[in-house]
């Protein structure tokens, strides 16, 4: 588990926008090395994005793989290389939606199933926390995870993009294809729901 917190600053280190576009163009022409560079740049963010939406690392791994396989096969159809990042997130989001629909159709684990836990593999190992606080932290993480799972999918994806992927609302509209007002409203509702879940938890604690 990495110690890098979610929602890192919007100004990312790495290649400049122009360099990134060049990498995308070369990957479009068939350069496998450049495709791997794109994977190295974006895969972790995509993996975490998918994980937040589906709540399972196994599913997140499969879906991340499917996302990048689709990127590899469809990359030539991307008309504007500068929009690669939004296009990538759209593919990832669509893969998640398809997975969720398949699960619901086959009556497998539902997206709202109580047994699916985001955080049962993530004990907080910080040496500064005493065991009781570690348990508290774990419980709170579970509460947040459940609150995310309980959100309608259309609130969940914009909320995850805004809070955990640190994406601007304008960029989010390019990913989800909804208006700015719709995105703002859905993020607001998602925050209220998550906040309410956290409040309920803290009220129950002695």
């Amino acid at each position: 588990m990495s110690s890098t917190p979610a929602g890192s600053p919007r100004i990312q280190s790495g290649p400049s926008h122009e360099q990134l576009v060049e990498v995308v163009v070369r990957a479009q022409k068939g350069s496998f090395d450049d495709f791997q560079k794109l994977y190295d740049l974006y895969a972790r963010a995509i993996y975490n994005f998918i994980w937040k939406l589906v709540g399972s690392t196994e599913d997140a791994e499969d879906l991340t793989q499917e996302t990048f396989l689709k990127v590899h096969s469809e990359l030539r159809r991307l008309r504007d290389p500068s929009q690669f990042r939004f296009w990538l997130y759209r593919i990832a989001r669509n893969e998640v939606y398809q997975k969720l629909r398949r699960k619901q159709r086959s009556s497998e684990v539902s997206i709202d199933d109580e047994e699916v836990s985001y955080y049962n593999f993530l004990p907080d190992q910080s040496p500064d926390l005493d065991p009781e606080r570690q348990v508290l932290s774990q419980e709170l993480q579970d509460v947040i995870g459940k609150a995310l799972r309980d959100l309608p999918v259309k609130y969940r994806d914009v909320f995850v993009l805004a809070v955990f992927q640190n994406m601007s609302y304008e960029d989010i509209t390019k990913v989800v294809g909804r208006s700015l007002l719709s995105v703002k409203t859905d993020i607001y509702r998602a925050r209220l729901a998550v906040k309410e879940a956290v409040n309920k938890y803290t009220r129950k604690r002695p």
């Binding site: 588990m1 955990f164 906040k195």
Partner: protein, 168 residues
């Protein structure tokens, strides 16, 4: 100011997705409205809580799976040099086919309408000869004026395709 309506903008301010002018307006409002300021503080604390959660590391097996699946795929057929590469360009393909079709149709229409066929040229020569003959004969000229072919500009007026015509 309607505080309820401003809540979405307060969230947008937290998410750094508000323009400078509305952001400045919100900040001013927060300084004067305790309820909205309390809401802002609550959401900011929630933000800190959410963003303190660490991200997962990327499992190596994801790339290994991608690599093995891509390398096991059959290699695509090489493009046909520059023309094949051009033809593979998805958008250009359809435009190119349409342009070819347009050129073919244009040439065909041009040849049919502008350039007479040899048999048509012969017919035209006969019509011209007939016109000269009619023009030169005042009696036939009189008949020509009552003939419907006169309306189409044939000065002789007589239908050159009919061998017998009734006259006045």
């Amino acid at each position: 100011m309607n505080c309820r309506k401003m809540r979405t903008d307060i969230i947008a301010l937290l998410d750094e997705s508000l323009g400078e002018v509305p952001a400045s307006r919100i900040r001013q409002h927060l300084q004067s409205c305790p309820a909205c300021f309390h809401f802002y503080e609550e959401q900011r604390n929630l933000d800190r809580l959410l963003k303190s959660e660490p991200q997962l590391d990327l499992p190596v097996r994801i790339w290994e799976g991608i690599e093995s699946r891509l390398l096991s795929r059959p290699a695509p057929a090489p493009p046909l040099r520059w023309f094949g590469a051009l033809f593979e360009w998805a958008n250009f393909r359809y435009a190119f086919a349409s342009a070819i079709l347009l050129v073919i149709v244009s040439v065909a229409v041009f040849r049919v309408t502008v350039t007479p066929r040899p048999e048509d040229e012969q017919l035209l020569a006969e019509i011209r000869a007939y016109q000269v003959e009619v023009l030169g004969n005042p009696f036939l000229k009189e008949i020509g004026r009552e003939n419907p072919f006169y309306a189409f500009g044939l000065r002789g007026g007589k239908n050159p395709f009919n061998s017998v015509r009734s006259t006045k």
